[in-house]
């Protein structure tokens, strides 16, 4: 995999590593249309600053695009970006490395 692509994939993994961000992304995907920061914040039990921070990470990963309109900022989901993570071999490679290390830790403590 090319470095730049790997970098994007890393950002996507990071963006979806957090449950709140996955929820926000899910809501945006389901909405299928642009939502304002206010509308998004209203749906979650987290501060507006928190939502803004999460949106920023989703935007960095290319999963969400935002644009300002008047005093509001609108967000729209780009789920196509997830196609970047289509390399299952790379995914499982990391998955098994992590898990086999976990097994070692488990065996050492029992």
């Amino acid at each position: 995999m090319k470095k730049s692509k790997q970098h994007t994939v890393n950002k996507i993994f990071k963006a979806i590593a957090d449950a709140n961000r996955r929820e926000i992304f899910h809501v945006l995907v389901m909405a299928g249309t642009a939502m304002s920061m206010t509308q998004i914040s209203e749906q979650f039990d987290i501060s507006r600053q928190g939502v803004t921070k999460h949106i920023k990470m989703l935007e960095d990963a290319g999963l969400v695009k935002t644009r300002a309109k008047g005093r509001e900022r609108f967000c729209i989901a780009y789920p196509q970006q997830l196609q970047q993570v289509k390399d299952w071999i790379a995914f499982y490679d990391k998955f098994w490395d992590t898990k086999l290390d976990d097994l070692g830790k488990f065996l050492d403590q029992t």
Binding site: I89, D93, L100
Partner: protein, 147 residues
């Protein structure tokens, strides 16, 4: 495209302990993923999400050869692709050498890859993803140092 992912890992523990860790439901649930599991050929196992016990991965036990070989199918919930996971154990250097093979991985068609994977994460792969996140973070640190 290579279709078998092979991993080797040496553990200091005796082979019986490693075998127990990969075949006993309670142990698997501790270090791997919460599960319903029995090391019996034909048993339909499930790996579950932490919070709501939803099946994330499921499959059938194909081969049980204590304490050396365990084979099962591995199907991500919501996908049709059947992959196979093989655990081989052998005594080596006073411990145990584990060889893990995951085959059929390249069989995932493009349209069911990322989206389904995302949905699996969404169900409760937080821990796995946290580890992955740390792993990736480490990798980025390395990359930054390499520049």
């Amino acid at each position: 495209m290579k279709d078998v992912l092979t991993k080797q890992h040496h553990y200091n523990s005796p082979i019986n302990d490693v075998w127990a860790a990969i075949t006993e439901q309670e142990k698997i649930s501790q270090w791997f993923i919460k599960c319903n599991f029995k090391a019996e050929v034909g048993y339909r196992y499930s790996l579950l999400s932490e919070n709501d016990n939803c099946e994330q991965i499921g499959g059938e036990i194909l081969k049980v050869n204590p304490v050396n070989e365990l084979v099962y199918t591995w199907i991500v919930a919501g996908t049709e692709t059947v992959t196979t996971v093989t655990w081989k154990l052998e005594e080596k250097d006073g411990g145990t050498l584990l060889t893990l093979e995951h085959s059929g991985v390249s069989g995932y068609p493009n349209e069911e890859t990322a989206i389904k994977m995302f949905e699996s994460f969404n169900g409760g792969w937080d821990k796995c993803i946290e580890h992955l996140d740390k792993y990736l973070a480490g990798e980025e640190v390395e990359a930054a140092h390499g520049k």
